[in-house]
């Protein structure tokens, strides 16, 4: 069975690294990038099954990334997990427009992220 592909965009190298470790252990194929721009560059060729992103990143932030992904082929309905601090929570209005999105507050628990991602795939399998 092909492993599910997860794309993680975060400018903190340690965050990306620990999430990669945890998700790989769960059997996912994980690719890490430093910012939204790199994520878009790789998106078409990678065709990930789920996108995990930070909000505040250089070059291209999480919101812009998600909004652009929605316009791409294969990205219109891809599940998105956004890691955000509570300070950024007040700017969550945009999520209604993009849909199929879930939030994880910082500090992000790797345990919670695994649960959210697993839930996504269980649901998709069931459907």
């Amino acid at each position: 069975m092909n492993a599910h592909k997860i794309l993680i965009a975060d400018d903190e190298p340690y965050v990306a690294r620990v999430l990669k470790l945890v998700l790989q252990k769960e059997g996912y194929k994980v690719t890490c990038v430093n910012n939204g721009k790199e994520a878009l560059d790789i998106f078409a060729t990678l065709q990930p099954d789920i996108l995990v992103t930070d909000v505040k990143m250089p070059h291209l932030g999480g919101r812009e990334l998600v909004e652009t992904v929605r316009t791409l082929e294969g990205g219109s309905n891809i599940p998105v997990v956004v890691m955000t601090s509570t300070l950024e929570s007040e700017n969550r209005d945009w999520v209604h427009d993009v849909g199929n999105i879930s939030f994880l507050g910082k500090p992000v628990s790797p345990r919670d992220l695994v649960r959210v991602i697993n839930t996504h795939f269980i649901h998709s399998k069931a459907s």
Binding site: D11, E12, P13, Y14, V15, R17, V18, L19, L21, V22, K25, N34, N35, K56, P58, H59, S85, L87, K106, P107, V108, S109, P110, R111
Partner: protein, 618 residues
């Protein structure tokens, strides 16, 4: 009357006496002159009458009748003997050649020859000429005719009368002069007697003017002036008392007015010193007081605000409407305190306006007007915004390492059988991130203390060479430096600088830490110190990734981090260079950045040398 004034009065009396004598003499002289003038005129008239009459009479006589013939006495002789006029000079009969046929001449008179007139109309007449012995002679002449034929001329001469007096006039004058001389001293004593109380009054008036009390208010005088003087003294005493009362009142009012002016000035300076502007309007809505700050705030001009109505105070409609509503609100009993925040585009300021009704202290229901307080909240808003941004940055920057710590610790907890590799990595990450948090908190504390002005500078004389050697040795022990080429280069005989050693150590450490962090593998770091006459320069030079020109001018801003990928790969919180900048400024030093992307960066700090700092201080 005091002693000082007595001589003045005596001198005055003497002057009056001399004046009276002089004036009586003048009167006598004028009288004499008038008499003499009158006498001269009378004499001239008498000569005229006598001359014209007598010459005609004599002209009608024959020469013989005039000269006398035989035993008969001639008319001319009669004339001489009777001395018909005391001014009579001569009487002469001259033939047609001017030769004298007969003449009678007064002593000391020489008869001048006569030019015989040709025309018959000129035969009778009069003429004046100057006598050979001096003095004027008035001559009357007429023809002597015999049997219708001109035979001779009769000439009558009179000396011109001078200014003289006759006997009766001299007698009259003597009597008049006697009378004047007799009356003068009498008038003098009478006047002196009358003047005496007046001079006393004058003295008292002078004393009044000079505010010197007269001890002698009892003026002894005759009955007619005694009452007047007593009344005058009473009036003077009353005037003194009144003046004293007025003076006391004036002193009180001057003191009170000075006190009021002082209190007003103090109150106004207190009101002007307040951090807000105050405006007071009376019950009719007219502005009666404003503090200075109002003009700066509302853009009004000094002098045009007082007396104007609240609705005309300011061009801004929002303010005007608010002020009018405040005033209307004050007028009704059920006053509701309200305030407003208004933006003024005219002055680019945001003001908070509060209005309070002003009630009388005696009668609390009596409204005196409205007090309106304007507060400039332009900067408050900015400060709040800046503070908000600052806190958000701090929270974010603190949360990032905490987030990493949390993730690694949870991963370790969930993976009891974690590989050794993961355990070591987690331990390293936890070590690094706690160090990052710690350094960030240190920097943040230092920065905040410097900005708040609460940092206690402990300046001391620091020998730059030894100080930099110490820093170099400490930093050389850093593990990350091992892979780099770190060198120290010091100029000979480097001077000393007054520095807070701890703060400057933080400053140079931050620069070296950045040089390590943003370097390339195997790169170089140089710590260099140089000097000129005035300053000492400390250079931290690296061969790292460099800084782009657009980032160079923002690099010292708080929380600034470049979007450059190479920068983002390295952990940082954007406070290090900001702190470096603040510390350098605190030491009156300068910082300069030379950098090219990809080639490295050089930060140059300059401090004034110790002797120059002294010179500056002096």
């Amino acid at each position: 009357m005091n002693d000082k004034q007595k001589p003045n009065v005596n001198i005055g009396n003497e002057k009056i006496g001399i004046g009276m004598i002089a004036s009586s003499l003048v009167v006598i002289v004028i009288t004499v002159a008038v008499f003499m003038y009158q006498q001269k005129h009378e004499d001239i008239n008498a000569i005229q009458r006598q001359g014209t009459g007598l010459v005609r009479l004599l002209g009608s006589m024959s020469i013989e009748q005039l000269n006398g013939e035989g035993s008969s006495v001639g008319m001319l002789r009669v004339l001489k003997e009777t001395q018909v006029n005391r001014h009579f000079a001569y009487a002469a009969v001259v033939n047609l050649d001017g030769m004298s046929l007969a003449e009678f001449v007064a002593p000391d008179v020489i008869v001048s020859p006569m030019v015989i007139p040709r025309l018959p109309s000129q035969w009778i007449g009069e003429r004046e000429y100057e006598s050979a012995k001096g003095g004027m002679i008035k001559e009357y002449f007429a023809p002597i005719m015999q049997q219708g034929e001109l035979k001779a001329f009769i000439r009558l001469g009179y000396q011109e009368p001078g200014y003289t007096l006759n006997t009766s006039q001299v007698r009259l004058l003597a009597i008049l002069s006697m009378a004047i001389f007799m009356l003068t001293p009498i008038f003098y004593f009478l006047i002196k007697k009358e003047i005496k109380p007046l001079t006393r009054i004058s003295g008292q008036l002078q004393a009044l003017i000079k505010k010197t009390e007269t001890t002698d208010s009892d003026v002894s005088s005759n009955n007619s002036t005694k009452d007047l003087m007593q009344q005058f003294s009473t009036v003077v005493q009353a005037a003194y008392k009144h003046i004293d009362t007025l003076e006391a009142k004036q002193t009180n009012s001057v003191v009170s007015s000075k006190l009021l002016v002082y209190q007003k000035a103090r109150l106004e300076s207190a009101l002007n010193a307040l951090p807000f502007a105050i405006l007071v309007a009376d019950e009719s809505g007219q502005v009666t007081y404003t503090s200075n700050k109002i003009h700066n705030l509302l853009g009004t001009q000094q002098g045009e605000v007082l007396g104007c109505n609240l609705c005309d105070l300011c061009e801004n409609r929002e303010i005007s409407e608010y002020l009018v509503s405040c005033h209307a609100n004050s007028a009704v009993k059920a006053y509701q305190h309200h305030d407003a925040d208004i933006y003024l585009p005219e002055t680019d300021k945001r003001v908070s306006v509060n209005a309070y009704p002003l009630f009388s202290q005696k009668n609390e229901s009596q409204l005196l007007g409205t007090v309106i307080v304007f507060r400039d909240i332009t900067h408050e808003g900015l400060e709040q915004k800046n503070n908000g941004e600052f806190i958000a940055h701090v929270a974010h920057e603190l949360k990032s390492p905490l987030n990493i710590l949390f993730m690694y610790s949870e991963t370790l907890l969930d993976n009891a059988d974690a590989s050794r590799e993961l355990t070591i990595e987690a331990a390293n990450v936890i070590h690094d991130e706690t160090g990052r948090i710690s350094q960030m908190i240190d920097n943040l504390l230092n920065l905040t203390m410097i900005e708040m002005g609460t940092v206690a500078m402990r300046r001391q004389r620091v020998k730059i060479a030894e100080f930099l050697k110490d820093i170099y040795q400490t930093m050389s022990r850093n593990k990350q430096v091992e892979s780099l080429e770190f060198s120290l280069e010091l100029e000979h005989d480097l001077g000393s600088v007054q520095l807070d050693k701890d703060l400057v150590r933080v400053c140079i450490n931050n620069l070296i830490s950045n040089a390590i962090k943003y370097n390339k593998p195997g790169g170089k770091i140089e710590l260099i110190a140089e000097q000129n006459d005035m300053e000492i320069f400390v250079r931290v030079r690296d061969s790292g990734i460099g800084i782009s020109p657009e980032d160079q001018h923002r690099i010292f801003s708080k929380f600034f981090r470049s979007d450059d990928d190479e920068v983002r790969k390295r952990s940082g919180h954007g406070l290090g260079l900001s702190l470096v900048n603040e510390i350098v400024k605190l030491h009156n030093g300068k910082i300069q950045l030379n950098s090219s992307p990809g080639e490295g960066s050089e930060f140059v700090i300059s401090f004034k040398k110790e002797n120059n700092m002294l010179k500056d201080a002096i």
